[in-house]
Symmetry: C2
Subunit: 323 residues, 2 copies
């Protein structure tokens, strides 16, 4: 029985099981295995996530780790001192209404300014008129801006709702010219790597032309860079991880308020999400590993020569449906 | 050689390969396999994602599929009519600055209102004062609100920046009492399933007490519900998928502007992310499968008896670091 020698049987069995198992998970990549070149979509949301725990240089970093000691307090602390009922109620609320843990805090009457209808309409028109003038501006003058205004716009961003009132945001305001320049170096360097990895052989002839797009001059010229970090979890007093529900959505909403506040104050910015730069910028700024970079906003006055692409927005009947 | 019979060799080989392959992917769950009960964290961002393609009832749905025919136009269309250079430039921009495809559109001088420093500070203070009064309010009166105001706040939300200027949002305004009630039924029903699945045996004794939290009366009483959908991709004129870069972050920023605009107009809301309700609500409202529910905001005036939990926000030095 030549066909059933043990060696042949072994080979056939290995092949069969191998093929079967591969077929089962063919669409999954193995951990650490790079995506096929054709599949690279570095702009999708998941790539924003900073999954690395880049520790080098974190100890002894001279850059103000002001917040590192003061872990977020307040909000809910899921430690063992809480009854199961309390915990249960918190979870129920969190998943739905972003409601704070109502069982624990006093409820107070809500007072709200109500305007006559005519005034409501006028206010809503004026606010729309103000925000509709906002544009992403990449040409930012090096003139200083009042820091009181920067504080106020960050305080405004901090009024955003957040899952279970966890307030999972850290706003790092960079004024130091050396740090701004280091940020620029990191971002321009990573851009180049992004470019080479993403575009590769296909686009090499255009390298020179594109290089001009890597130049992020505003990172040096803007008097203030605001780097917005999402805290993917908190740390309770007990040392346990505290869940930060819907942290990315919460921090993005806060960024929306920040953009509105900047526009209201007469400052300009451009919304950027520096690709793959999160870990290095986090280390540079001495932020802990539970914080991941979500956005970087260079802030200042528009330079005199600033231009913007002549784009329009969709009319309301293309974004709104009424039922 | 008893130990090397073909059958034994076959069994051993199958086992070895099986174990090897399983060890390789032990941390991955197989498609469709439910998570272990202990691992259920329905509040994390990924659970918001509506991955189902729930088609039943989509054909012949009487509810205004107004936008279905008018796929988002404008912005960038990655069809084959574009040169590789143009495509390359778009990709480069998208990944970083959310810049529009600059090569294609004229650039125009940017004009911006600049205020004297004193006025900037005052404006930023006043805007902070306005937004700091915003609270999540669950007690909403059934009084009607001016629809012009609703239009203006949605137009304001539509001024948000978006990855590659794709404007990947749809705002569904529900006024019809029957549809509002159906939405309530779906949400309260899913809540119950969430509860039973999530809490299970551990918390059954508290079922009665919790049930009161499932009651979402505001879904009936609020004169307007705004359901915000993110378009996870677009459809180009050629019929190809159009990538919607950073769509969740973009739409969340738009929701931030929406919340600011509502507060400015004197209306109240509560930010909700109805867990697991996305597919059913999408079908109810006749939205296409590329749209996923991100948020639901009941909008109106606060009812006279409205209360809010007596919570505070973190002071600015707990959310801001200066470098």
């Amino acid at each position: 029985m030549f066909f059933l020698t043990p060696v042949l049987v072994a080979v056939v069995c290995i092949l069969i099981v191998w093929i079967f198992k591969n077929g089962d998970g063919s669409s999954k990549r193995r951990k650490g295995e790079p995506r096929a070149r054709a599949e690279v979509h570095p702009w999708v949301d998941e790539d924003l996530k900073d999954n690395t725990d880049l520790h080098q240089g974190e100890e002894g970093n001279p850059l103000i780790p002001e917040l590192q000691a003061s872990q977020p307090s307040g909000g809910l602390e899921l430690d063992d001192g809480r009854s199961k009922n309390q915990l249960l109620n918190i979870q129920e609320h969190d998943a739905n209404d972003w409601q704070e843990s109502e069982e624990d805090v006093e409820h107070i009457p809500f007072s709200h300014t109500r305007y006559p209808e005519k005034e409501m309409v006028k206010r809503s028109q004026e606010f729309y008129a103000l925000l509709s003038k906002r544009r992403s501006v990449r040409f930012i003058s090096n003139e200083q801006v009042p820091m009181e205004v920067i504080d106020n716009v960050i305080k405004t961003a901090g009024t955003a709702p957040s899952g279970a009132h966890t307030e999972p945001w850290t706003f790092v305001v960079v004024k130091d010219p050396d740090v701004k320049h280091k940020i620029r170096e990191i971002i321009e360097e990573e851009e180049e790597i992004n470019y080479l990895k993403r575009m590769g052989r296909q686009w090499v002839t255009d390298l020179k032309k594109l290089r001009t797009n890597w130049v992020k001059e505003y990172l040096d010229t803007a008097p203030v860079l605001i780097l917005i970090f999402k805290q993917v979890h908190g740390v309770a007093a007990s040392g346990k991880r505290k869940v930060h529900y819907y942290n990315e959505i919460s921090v993005s909403i806060a960024c929306g308020l920040l953009l509105a506040a900047l526009q209201n104050a007469g400052l300009v910015t451009v919304t950027t999400t520096p690709l793959n730069c999160g870990p290095r910028l986090r280390v540079l700024l001495g932020r802990p590993t539970n914080e991941k970079l979500l956005m970087l906003l260079p802030v200042g006055y528009a330079s005199k020569e600033a231009t913007v692409p002549n784009l329009t927005r969709k009319p309301v009947d293309q974004i709104r449906v009424t039922v």
